[in-house]
Amino acid sequence: MAELHIALEVNGEQREADVEPRTLLVSMLREDLELTGTHVGCDTSQCGACTVLVDGHAVKSCTMLAVQAEHTAVTTIEGLGQPGSLHPLQQAFWDKHGLQCGFCTPGMIMAAADLMAHNPEPTDTEIRHAIAGNICRCTGYHNIVAAVREAASVMREGAAAPATNA
């Protein structure tokens, strides 16, 4: 099958790849663009480990074709923060022990990022609904919810009092 040449924005950078039509977005991210922070768990659209943002919306990248992402803006876990300057969600997952094995963490964080974008002050119930499409099999959801709650609080403070010496 002939490959198609596609261009898209990934974590703020213009990227290009040659993909078969059947190439899944997650495969292109991991194998062509070498962004292995996005995980493949169930590969059946249930576990949410592969969650990324496409044009700001959380989607399961195992259930989207790479060609469907052409000319979109994709954000993966690598695009949220960097070692030394973690995103508040990454920092909060660390501080609140929101992970043990870490396999589900990138997907959890990207799903939470979608929630934060339209609900800066989520209740615990809203947080639980927001991550209903993400399965954790070791940490347990309690600390994950606590981490998202903490991150929301930090992000609200950040929005209310922007750093003056930035």
Binding site: E20, P21, R22, L24, Q46, G48, A58, H129
Partner: protein
């Protein structure tokens, strides 16, 4: 899991997509792909060509028609539907959050759900209860059909190979109406074991003047339970009247059975959730 190889065309107009469908028996439409791609990854579906209609602007958006009804473009995602005036219909507010999860609701489309016609999809129950209309386009023109009768079997509908479902028409909200959706979900998949949507119109003295009952997950296709509607209309919606009407929700239909629920249990759950949906709808109408 990797789908079998296929050719891919991103349609730039409805006409182009219709042309490909008419000339290529192996072509299949894809929009959000939230139902189709999992089937393709399992190789239960192996279309030779995918025609991607996901970016056609003419199939997008929710707009109000002159008569107050809402035209919901086929490409409207579940998430977009919840951000639209369609949320004035209580049954829509009930049913959409019951569908899958945030990520799937961000990609999955209303038109895709209807055209795919999973026998346990939640949305068709609401569309049946609301007496929604489906706008279907082909190269020979546009036709409208009722949701009632459109769902014919598992993944089988009244849509021909060379047609595109363009829009779903929802009724205008009415002051005398109440509606609700009640379901019991299979915990792991979230699909309903039995799901019932109810719409009631309540007049003076609490008289039920009209009703729409849509059922999913119970039989091999979503259906409208006219027997329940007929039994409800003309009553004042007392607990006894609701229970008597709900008891008719299965009738002589063949009830599905799987590892999650046998026939007897599924039928019993259909009755329970018919009663709950009707009672919630009545409470909202009063």
């Amino acid at each position: 899991m990797i789908p079998a190889a296929f050719d891919y065309t991103r349609a730039t107009s409805v006409e182009e997509a219709l042309g490909i469908l008419a000339s290529d028996e192996g072509a299949k439409l894809i929009a959000g792909g939230q139902s189709l791609l999992p089937l393709m990854k399992l190789r239960l579906a192996q279309p030779a060509r995918l025609v991607d209609i996901g970016r056609l602007p003419e199939l997008r958006g929710v707009s109000k028609l002159d008569d107050g009804r809402l035209s919901v473009g086929a490409l409207t995602t579940y998430a977009e539907l919840m951000d639209s005036p369609a949320v004035h219909l209580a049954v829509i507010r009930d049913v959409v959050p019951a569908i899958a999860d945030v990520q799937v609701r961000n990609r999955g489309t209303i038109g895709g759900a209807v055209a795919h016609a999973d026998p346990a999809a939640d949305l068709p129950a609401a569309l049946l209860a609301l007496d929604a209309e489906l706008v279907i386009q082909s190269s020979s023109g546009t036709r409208s059909v009722k949701a009632d009768g459109f769902f014919q079997g598992p993944f089988a509908t009244g849509l021909a190979h060379d047609e595109i479902l363009a829009a779903v028409i929802l009724p205008a909200p009415r002051g005398d109406a109440g509606s609700a959706y009640a379901s019991i979900q299979q915990r792991a998949s979230g699909y309903p074991i039995a799901g019932v949507a109810a719409v009631v119109f309540v007049g003076a003295g609490g008289l039920v003047e009209g009703a729409g009952i849509g059922v999913t997950g119970v039989s091999d296709h979503p259906y409208r339970a006219h027997e329940v509607e007929d039994a409800l209309v003309g009553t004042t919606g007392t607990a006894d009247a609701v229970a008597a009407a709900a008891a008719l929700v299965v009738g002589d239909r063949e009830v599905s059975a799987d590892i999650h629920a046998g026939r007897e249990y599924r039928a019993a759950m259909a009755v329970v959730h018919a009663r709950r949906a009707i009672e919630a709808a009545l409470a909202r109408a009063r």
